[in-house]
Symmetry: C2
């Protein structure tokens, strides 16, 4: 059984003691956290819900990996706006039979990643629950009016992705097939690192016209950019950077890569790498036409076909 609620909260409070001079005026220990938002900045807020046997399995994912991944989802959303993370909040539902050892591992993974990016764990909630539930809220800062939205893509803009795609999906495929996969610290499935430095660079250099993080899969997330920007898009199969062990199909449709997908003006010259990570141009934004599919993919045989959204969607019969 996990420790009693108050002992657990005191433990988490000790783990997360904020450094002096930080934007956190009041952390864990009151009805609300109190945050200072510097003049000339706006606040970013994102929440991500992780549920046992939906987002992870205890048999597949070590507790440290679950804690790490839960926080990465939120940090990656901050990266996708070009922001800097400020503080995070953790609402944790735990089954009464869960060993405290698992909770310790989860907190190690979570707090370890928070420290790496200088993010304070500033509050949250704890409850018993029928399965493990972790809802993570991350707040961040961005200079006022500069957040990179999904809605800023213009016809003619080039489409880019960071890193390689399908790495996480290929591990998931192995796990579903019953294979054992060692959860190495370098694995983008078990320990994905959010692309905060790249997001910040793309915003501060005014390079990105729109941006999203690849959590649901390229086909879904590019559709989000097209919907919000009221455009269509064309991508080129052979330009998509496919991760080792993955396939084009996984690179297009599997999620949890936490790479960034962004657009930039055709006039902008991008370096081959940002912060040591490969940047690949994969296509172009087009004017939206009723007779044209939202996204087309040019295949290696020279033919174009419609790219349908096939990433993850909850409560959907079709997969």
């Amino acid at each position: 059984m996990p420790w009693p609620e108050r002992k657990l909260i005191e433990h988490i409070r000790r783990l997360s003691r904020p450094r002096a001079g930080h934007a956190l005026v009041q952390g864990i220990g009151d009805d609300c956290a109190v945050l200072r938002v510097p003049i000339g900045h706006q606040l970013l807020v994102t929440t991500d819900l992780c549920i046992e046997n939906v987002h992870f399995r205890r048999a597949w994912h070590p507790a440290e990996s679950v804690g790490h991944r839960c926080l990465t989802r939120g940090l990656s959303d901050i990266a996708a706006m070009g922001g800097k993370p400020l503080a995070c909040f953790l609402s944790l539902g735990l089954p009464a039979r869960l060993p405290q050892r698992w909770v310790d591992g989860f907190l190690d993974g979570f707090v370890g990643l928070a420290r790496r990016f200088d993010v304070n764990l500033a509050g949250g909630d704890i409850s018993s629950a029928p399965a493990i539930v972790a809802d993570v809220m991350v707040s961040g800062l961005v200079p006022s009016g500069t957040a990179v939205l999904r809605s800023g893509a213009k016809p003619g803009d080039r489409i880019y992705v960071t890193g390689e795609l399908g790495a996480s999906g290929s591990v998931l495929k192995q796990l579903y097939a019953g294979e054992r996969v060692r959860p190495r610290p370098s694995s983008r499935h078990f320990y994905p690192v959010p692309r905060l430095e790249i997001g910040d660079w793309l915003r501060s250099k005014k390079v990105a016209t729109s941006m999203i993080d690849l959590s649901d899969g390229l086909s879904v997330d590019l559709a989000h950019i097209c919907e919000e920007s009221r455009t269509s898009a064309e991508i080129i199969a052979e330009k998509i950077p496919i991760a080792k062990g993955a396939s084009l199909d996984l690179a297009l449709h599997s999620g949890d890569d936490y790479e960034l997908l962004f657009t930039a003006s055709a006039k902008t010259k991008l370096p081959p790498q940002i912060a040591g990570v490969r940047i690949s141009e994969i296509g172009v934004i087009k004017r939206k036409k009723d007779y044209r599919p939202a996204i087309e993919i040019l295949l290696e045989n020279g033919r174009a076909r419609e790219l349908k959204s096939r990433g993850w969607q909850h409560f959907s019969e079709k997969r």
Copy 2:
């Protein structure tokens, strides 16, 4: 089954369309929400996790009541800091077999309360889950440096509560006993209204030296004030405002009343009502002494006894 994720998100987005000129720069539809924090203000953040069969039961609570109560918990935390709510975020885990009708009722209750207090639903997340899970984050504003903390009580300060206590607990007791209770809109168990106007008044008039909302029960929440303020306290049984149908025991130890518990200097003269709600002086803050229990209660027979924290605690054997 609930609607597919994207349809559900679109539906919620329509329900929550923000008014122009509000502090919300970007609501639902991007990786993060973007909030404007006015100069001279600090941001308050609170999260509250509600889980089926822990915080509510579908057999006892109509969906509208569940949605309403989930948001009240967060708004009440904002009230307890003396703040004004700004925006809320809803992470919703839903069983695949849950009828969409239930989701509609939940959203009616949630959005209805949000509109009443001019709070925008600015984002969130949706997932399938083995039971209903709602994690609600509420952000609010307070003029910089004026948030009323739990840690400000001083020896000699008088202790006050708003309204009457034990109302929610007495309904819960009836429900546990198998009685049917009609969920009237005026019920403080089914539709508790957060004391935002009172919290704001107490802060802006510089009356409250410390404050907390009564979510876990008076014995637990007063202990939080004493711990954070490093004081002890003495309360007087006959001064505690007991709700109709409740007992002293329920008024002391049952939760979910969402009244405010606060302290004020002995020199401060408080009106008998604030915003139409009764204010009761129930005791005094004392200097902490090792030989004295943290909280004592003076009984009607003139004897004093230790008041132990007996409110709700998750993962506790003792109840």
